[in-house]
């Protein structure tokens, strides 16, 4: 069992042997995962392979059953008490995952708040900023995703791409050290995918540490430092995209890439 002491200092997220079951179904089995500062990792794989569940376990939105997840060297979701592992309190969980921001497939903006209010809500409630400071900060974040002029709009009057960019701004406002993206473009019309990927590329260029669960192979090939291929709850292969996409070793990855090519290249 690894402890915080054995973790190299630069790992922001580190998972050891995590597994997760939904009833009889083992969705994650014995996964190891390590994320260093400024790394951009794309997680790919067929649907049902467990990639979203892995991401949710890294944020403890889904409690993992076995193994451990460390954020900045701190155990996420559980406390060790007298050799026993017990679920940590909500406050402790919030504290440990504070450096983690998350962007969801379906945006999950708060519909009763304007774009700006979606971004400023946590700045005010969690960081205790005054309305003025929070709004200045919020506008800066909307500026960063190119949506300053939509600040006063409610989510219902934004396009899917704009909603997702607001969701990114909302996560960025809390100054995360790592951003988790759960299929951020899968719910978008094809013509809106680009604007979201552009924002993510810019984030990567700015040095943000990111884990992205995606079906966008082009993006994975061009932007990520490392690609993790998952199938049936396991990490089958991982490595730099140049190697992984050109010289897949496993039959499963070869098949996955072939299926993808057949669908996308005619």
């Amino acid at each position: 069992m690894p402890t915080a002491d054995t973790i190299a200092p630069r790992a922001i997220v580190e998972a050891h042997g995590i597994s997760k079951r939904f009833g009889d179904l083992e969705v994650l089995s014995d996964i190891d995962f390590r994320l260093d500062s400024s790394e951009v990792v794309c997680v790919i794989g067929p649907s049902g392979s467990g990639k979203s569940t892995l991401l949710r376990c890294l944020a403890f939105l889904e409690p993992y059953d076995n193994g451990s997840v460390y954020i900045d060297g701190q155990l996420l979701g559980y406390d060790q008490r007298g050799g026993m592992r017990v679920r940590a309190g909500e406050r402790r969980i919030d504290e440990v995952r504070a450096p983690v921001g998350m962007v969801f497939q379906h945006f999950h903006l708060w519909p009763h708040r304007t774009a700006l209010e979606n971004v400023t809500e946590a700045l005010r409630l969690v960081n205790g900023l005054s309305r003025r400071d929070a709004e200045a900060e919020g506008m800066a974040m909307l500026e960063r995703v190119g949506l300053a002029e939509r600040a006063g709009h409610f989510p219902e009057s934004l396009s899917g791409g704009q909603k997702q960019r607001v969701a990114i701004a909302r996560a960025l406002a809390m100054k995360p050290r790592v951003m988790l993206f759960d299929e951020p473009t899968s719910a978008l019309d094809p013509e809106l995918v680009g604007e979201v990927l552009d924002v993510m590329k810019q984030l990567a260029a700015d040095g943000m540490t990111m884990v992205i669960v995606t079906h966008e192979m082009g993006f994975a090939a061009n932007v990520s430092n490392r690609v993790v291929f998952m199938d049936q709850g396991q990490v089958v292969e991982s490595g730099p995209p140049s190697i992984l996409f050109r010289q897949p070793r496993s039959a499963r990855l070869k098949q996955f890439l072939n299926t993808w090519r057949e669908r996308h290249i005619d």
Binding site: V100, F104, F107, H108, W110, P111, E121, A122, V126, P155
Partner: protein, 218 residues
């Protein structure tokens, strides 16, 4: 009917005032209790859910008339002397809390779980998430059934006349027996109940229109 209204309006207005005081206090107090119960009903802990469910089932599953009599006779038994009007407000509060909790519970169930996850990931605490993210949307979603419940309580408040609270119903009975004009008297009372409820419905419809923005779920 007009004659009854004109001749007896001071007592009728007094009765109507009592009706409003009893029902509106019960609705307001029941709102607070109903929200807390709804949180209990949607709690992850079975230990919290179970007693809240039991409470809800009892107050929803027994006649309000019976509840009034039970509270009215039970309180002195356990050494609490209260005026009939207090017992009336208490009963209606406990009753409407059960119905309101069920309204809020269904409203809470309509908020996509992802919105709550997004709040948790932003570090917003569970209570702040309820207060700032969930409940503002729940109030908008549940305004129509909530209006129904308010109107129901206002009408059911006529039952508190059985424990000698002189509200509109009881006043009408008194006038009817004195004037020997029951039909006209009860018609007059009906007009007064209807007038109040129409005003309530109008306020609700106005609020609903005003709050229509920003509610589309993704």
């Amino acid at each position: 009917m007009l004659e009854i209204l004109l001749n007896h309006y001071p007592v009728l207005i007094k009765g109507l005032t009592t009706t409003l005081v009893v029902s509106l206090s019960a609705i307001a107090l029941g709102l607070v209790l109903g929200i807390l119960l709804a949180f209990g009903l949607t709690s992850q802990s079975r230990l919290v859910r179970w007693p809240c469910g039991l409470y809800r089932s009892f107050w929803r599953g027994t006649p309000i008339l019976l509840q009034l009599l039970l509270v009215y006779y039970l309180l002195p038994e356990i050494g609490i002397e209260v005026a009939p009007i207090t017992a009336a407000i208490l009963t209606l509060t406990l009753n409407t809390a059960a119905f309101q909790s069920e309204i809020f519970r269904s409203g809470i169930a309509h908020i996509p779980a992802g919105q709550i996850e997004a709040a948790r990931m932003a570090g917003i605490s569970a209570w702040q998430t309820r207060r700032r993210i969930v409940m503002p949307q729940v109030f908008r979603l549940t305004l129509p059934p909530l209006t129904n419940e308010i109107i129901t309580i206002l009408k059911n408040s006529s039952l508190v006349s059985v424990i000698a609270v002189t509200e509109l119903m009881r006043v009408s009975e008194q006038i009817a027996s004195r004037t020997f004009q029951p039909l006209e008297t009860y018609l007059a009372a009906a007009v007064l109940y209807l007038a109040v409820n129409l005003v309530l419905a109008r306020i609700s419809a106005h609020l609903e229109r005003r709050m229509a923005g920003g509610l589309a779920t993704e």
